[in-house]
């Protein structure tokens, strides 16, 4: 089966011979099972001398560098960096000789990965190999249908002239900037600032289509929209419930902690429509129908309530609204209803419930399987509720381990380009947010206001990356801004990760201008050139291995990357490009800020291609402003000391028992690795970071906490604050309380704990905008949480569904269920755009889409590739392992259609698109489901798009993008796209 998965046994353009694969695996089976006798084996293996056809077609670049590999030959340096391929945060020691990256060594000292890597991490050195590189090498523009080389100056001049013209004609909101979760924290932060200085909120990044529903759902339940604990903390757990995560492929190194825990008796449960590599390691596996997560979770909760397994004291002390949820779950989600919706038997659901109840503390672990649904805000909150009922949140070994995707998607969400928030989740809708940040930036607020179309637009969340195409295509009178979008910047983001590819191409036809800033020009360039003769610019940018800065792993730890090598070819760093473009637009000074003494907030330092903002200073500016989420204590000095002393940190707790940094003398004692946010107060306070959120078994200054007070003191006469006796260890206020501000400090008689300087700053301020950090310091000195102490909300009354409801996908295979569990009504204006729900669902039912497209289509990851995949598909060491896109189809569904394993098929969907992929006939999926991985691009409905890529910059492996064919559907709260449940039909391939 592996063979089929890898290349379906047919050599593609770069084809490894299938023979090679066969030889090894059949050789293996002869060892394994003796099921193939020697004669059969030799016959089947097709052994011929010199097998490995085409092995030499890719010139193997690195031979020329063999000399450099001789370590005795010259001076080598070791640079410590962090893998850029997922959110686990694996450390890498890069061996560099004379500016060339020659070796890569495991970092056994890292408490996160202990030297371990998956296929992507173990091959990351390929980044540094310039021979036969598939990178974009110099600025280019599309002219007369051809990609033409430009100088940087010329590119800047033309781009800025065009953008300024658009701005003059249509206002600043005619531009949409798609930022990146691949940016480090400093770059992501600078980009949000950059867009603000341009005068718009039309910016977004991968988090929208990855975990926006998590961030919203989880933050609205208990305070912060992030993974509650760490990967490491799974070692302290007794049960791990993977619902919507295939960690073995998406976060392979996290499985080190998972399997270690399992070996110590922790129960591993996986519920997934597919039998994944993660499921193969589970104690309990349950297959259920895609998109029915709410019935599944509430089905489990039903058994928990029925058997009295809920943690009553915990609920009493720390949870609001559980009674209401209980009433609804007991009435609505009886086992028969759950079975009807999910397809799971009562026994299966009961078994999960019992296992979770008997094995506490435990985690629910999720990724895109929960979040990428048009009902995902409800799904993630149902998970939260289940964990609250079990008393699993706010303790070591239990919580919601929400695996983020990209290496810095957590950080980019925290401090980067979001349409509705400024860095630190300060909402754009609140004028105080702008006042706060303009003060931190040292930018004149009155000037800033004038940059925007109006103060109203300044306070209006922008469009989302999932919907920019509608910002271009939608009728002007229906959108909530003056002009349609006319220009787009794709700044480190793949277009094939967004749904409705067919319509994206329509939007590209209409754009005035598209700018792609990327190390790999990505599918954006090819898609654009497929339908246009001009109107696009490509700017080559450095990777994270070619610059320095901090990245926030999924567990909220920040790690500082050293620069491994200089930017390759003509590429420049993201922050340099931001600065140089800002110069053209006249806000370069504001971008780096100017203090009272005339010096910049952020110094300019020399880089390859010009001056660039200092990453260390940028982090210091973030430290100065991001009080809400405790990005204030992680100074560059502290982070760098952690990177040098990884061996001091305990693997199970992430805490340093002791130790001093030899270089600076910094005392590491008590710090948690990477100072996981919130790390409150300023660096001098030495808050150790918070390994597990809301954990009231620890003192605040030991990383303890409690649920956040964000929704007032009571609702309809019911107390929203924590009950008496529920507080962080050692707190002086032993009951629930509101957030700290200058008034509360004075009332408590703690005002005089502030220094005179702190008092000057803190007067009139809150814990979230007091730049001295004094309010936070004093609150924590007394053992209390700066953000107050409240209950988590089982009922989020400000969401359309206060208690999560099951709502069928817009394209459901079950019209009977649509009738019982319909979606929302259409919405006239959401994130500046009209958004359809019921009308799409009804149309689908009326047109009997479930009959024309009877299979559920879902999508997901492969271990070898990441995201849109252009980067990883350009790495030969990875590309060799997955050479063709494929659809997983059950043997029964395949047989019914006369489809054989390994042959091409057409997969069509209600969008009208059809995909040419290979059939992978497998029992991984049930007879009702198909799966296509989402990392491919470069084919368009059967055609190779190679002619549309700039020469030498097309990835080695190309294939159909599943999102060319995904259908309409968005989350009611966050505009998350639906990519996990739609419909399809599979047919034999005919040209």
């Amino acid at each position: 089966m592996l063979l089929t998965r890898k290349n379906n046994g047919s050599a593609s353009q770069h084809g490894t011979s299938a023979v090679q694969h066969n030889r090894l695996s059949q050789g293996l089976s002869s060892v394994l099972g003796k099921t193939i006798d020697r004669r059969t084996f030799l016959k089947r293996s097709g052994m011929t001398a010199g097998a490995g056809i085409a092995a030499a077609q890719i010139p193997f670049s690195m031979m020329g560098e063999a000399k450099a590999a001789d370590a005795a030959a010259g001076k080598t340096e070791v640079k410590r960096t962090i893998c850029t391929h997922c959110s686990v945060g694996c450390a890498i020691d890069a061996v560099v000789q004379d500016g060339v990256w020659i070796r890569q060594e495991p970092v056994f000292d890292s408490p996160i990965n202990l030297g371990a890597h998956c296929a992507k991490g173990a091959s990351i050195r390929e980044h540094g190999i310039t021979h036969d590189s598939h990178r974009l090498k110099y600025p280019m523009k599309l002219e007369g249908g051809k990609w033409k080389r430009l100088s940087w100056d010329q590119a800047y001049t033309e781009i800025s002239e065009k953008l300024l013209k658009i701005r003059k004609e249509s206002g600043p909101d005619a531009l949409f900037v798609v930022g990146s979760s691949k940016h480090n924290n400093e770059q992501a932060y600078l980009l949000r600032k950059w867009v603000s200085l341009w005068g718009s909120n039309n910016t977004d990044h991968q988090a929208r289509i990855c975990h926006s529903t998590t961030v919203a759902g989880v933050a609205q339940t208990w305070g912060y929209g992030a993974m509650t604990n760490s990967y490491n903390d799974e070692q302290n757990s007794k049960s791990l419930f993977f619902l919507g995560s295939n960690a073995a492929e998406a976060h392979p190194v996290s499985m080190l902690h998972t399997l270690h825990a399992k070996e110590n008796g922790c129960k591993v449960i996986v519920a997934d429509p597919r039998y994944t590599r993660t499921a193969a390691k589970a104690d309990i596996y349950v297959r259920f129908r895609s998109g029915t997560d709410v019935p599944l979770i509430f089905g489990i909760l039903h058994h928990i309530f029925k058997n009295g397994w809920e943690d009553k004291q915990y609920i009493h002390d720390r949870v609001y609204g559980m009674e209401d949820v209980k009433k609804e779950v007991m009435a609505k989600w009886t086992p028969d209803k759950v079975t009807e919706a999910t397809g799971c038997s009562e026994a299966e659901i009961f078994n999960i419930a019992k296992t979770m109840a008997e094995n506490r503390p435990g985690f629910i672990i999720w990724a895109m399987g929960q979040t990428q649904h048009n009902n995902a805000n409800g799904i993630v909150r149902a998970s939260n509720i289940l964990q609250l009922a079990l008393g699993n949140v706010g303790r070591s070994g239990g919580g919601c381990n929400i695996y983020r995707g990209h290496d810095n998607v957590q950080g980019a969400t925290d401090v980067g380009p979001n349409p509705d928030t400024l860095p630190g989740y300060y909402p754009v809708t609140v004028p105080a947010s702008w006042a706060h940040w303009s003060r931190v930036w040292n930018v004149d607020l009155a000037w800033l206001k004038k940059q925007f179309a109006s103060e109203a637009m300044m306070a209006k969340p922008g469009m989302t990356v999932s919907r920019w195409i509608d910002g271009v295509l939608e009728k002007n009178e229906l959108i909530d801004q003056e002009s349609n979008l006319r220009a787009i910047v794709y700044w480190g983001h793949a277009p094939n990760s967004q749904s409705r590819g067919l319509e994206m191409v329509e939007a590209m036809k209409k754009l005035d201008l598209m700018i792609v800033v990327d190390p790999y020009p990505s599918a954006s360039a090819a898609m654009f050139a497929m339908v246009r003769k001009d109107g696009a610019y490509l700017l080559p940018v450095a990777t994270q291995l070619e610059t320095e800065g901090s990245a926030t792993a999924s567990n909220r730890s920040l790690q500082w990357r050293q620069k491994v090598i200089d930017p390759l070819f003509e590429s420049r760093t993201d922050h340099m490009i931001m600065y140089q473009l800002a110069e053209k637009f006249g806000f370069a000074k504001e971008l780096i800020g100017q203090k009272g003494d005339g010096k910049p907030n952020i110094a300019l330092v020399k880089g390859k291609g010009g001056m660039e903002p200092s990453m260390e200073d940028t982090l210091r500016e973030i430290n100065r402003g991001a009080w809400t989420i405790g990005y204030t204590g992680q100074s560059p000095e502290r982070l760098q000391a952690h990177m040098r002393n990884m061996h001091q940190f305990d693997v199970k707790t992430l805490r340093a028992k002791g130790g001093k940094d030899a270089k600076t003398g910094y005392d590491l004692t008590g710090d948690y690795f990477g100072l996981p946010w919130p790390c409150y107060g300023n660096a001098a306070l030495k808050h150790p970071g918070s390994p597990n959120l809301y954990d009231n078994s620890k003192h605040m200054m030991d990383g303890g906490g409690n649920f956040r007070a964000l929704w007032g003191a009571e609702r309809d006469g019911v107390n929203l604050l924590a009950e008496d006796g529920s507080h962080p260890k050692g707190a002086e206020i032993t009951t629930g309380h509101p957030p700290f501000d200058h008034v509360l400090l004075k009332k408590l008689g703690w005002w005089d704990d502030l220094t005179e300087d702190e008092k000057k700053e803190a007067e009139g301020k809150t814990w979230a905008n007091d730049l001295s950090g004094g309010i936070q310091r004093v609150a924590m000195k007394h053992g209390n949480h700066p953000f107050g102490n409240a209950k988590a909300r089982a009922v989020v009354w400000n969401f359309p569904d206060g208690i999560p409801q099951h709502r069928e996908p817009l394209y459901s295979p079950r019209p009977d269920m649509v009738e019982k569990y319909p979606t929302h009504d259409d919405v006239k204006n959401m994130w500046r755009l009209p958004t359809l729900f019921k009308s799409v669902q009804q149309k689908s039912v009326k047109e009997e889409m479930h009959k024309k497209y009877p299979l559920v289509l879902t999508s997901g990851r492969l271990v070898e590739y990441e995201g849109g995949g252009e980067e990883t598909r350009s790495n030969p060491w990875l590309a060799e392992l997955q050479q063709d896109n494929f659809v997983e189809i059950n043997p029964k569904s395949a047989a019914d259609r006369g489809i054989r394993n390994g042959e091409f098929v057409w997969v069509s969907t209600p969008s009208g698109a059809k995909l040419k992929v290979k059939a992978q006939v497998t029992e991984r999926v049930g007879p009702d489901t198909c799966f296509i991985p989402f990392h491919f691009s470069g084919w368009w409905q059967g055609q190779d798009m190679l002619p549309y890529y700039p020469e030498g910059a097309a990835p080695i492996v190309r294939g159909e993008a599943v999102n060319t064919a995904t259908t309409y559907g968005y989350d009611r709260v966050t505009m998350m796209q639906e990519t996990k449940t739609t419909l399809c039909q599979v047919a034999k391939f005919q040209a």
């Binding site: 099972g33 370590a71 270690h260």
Partner: protein
Amino acid sequence: MIRCSLLAASVLCIGGCMEVEQVSNAQKQAGQTVRRDTNPWSNEPLANGPKWSKGDRTSWEEQIKKRQLAQHEHRRIYE
């Protein structure tokens, strides 16, 4: 399922399986057990790598065995 048993070698034996030193025909003829290659411990350690005393097999092996424990996360976790 079947495979497990068929390819099994008991864990109890993994340390103590009998081993016979194998030499190639050419080696036998030349009366040597090892031919043509430098022993790893005969090398000078790298400036930024693991250390042993050059030429001393015991110190190289000690170092290798110690390093090998990096493949054993229990050591790091429970140490």
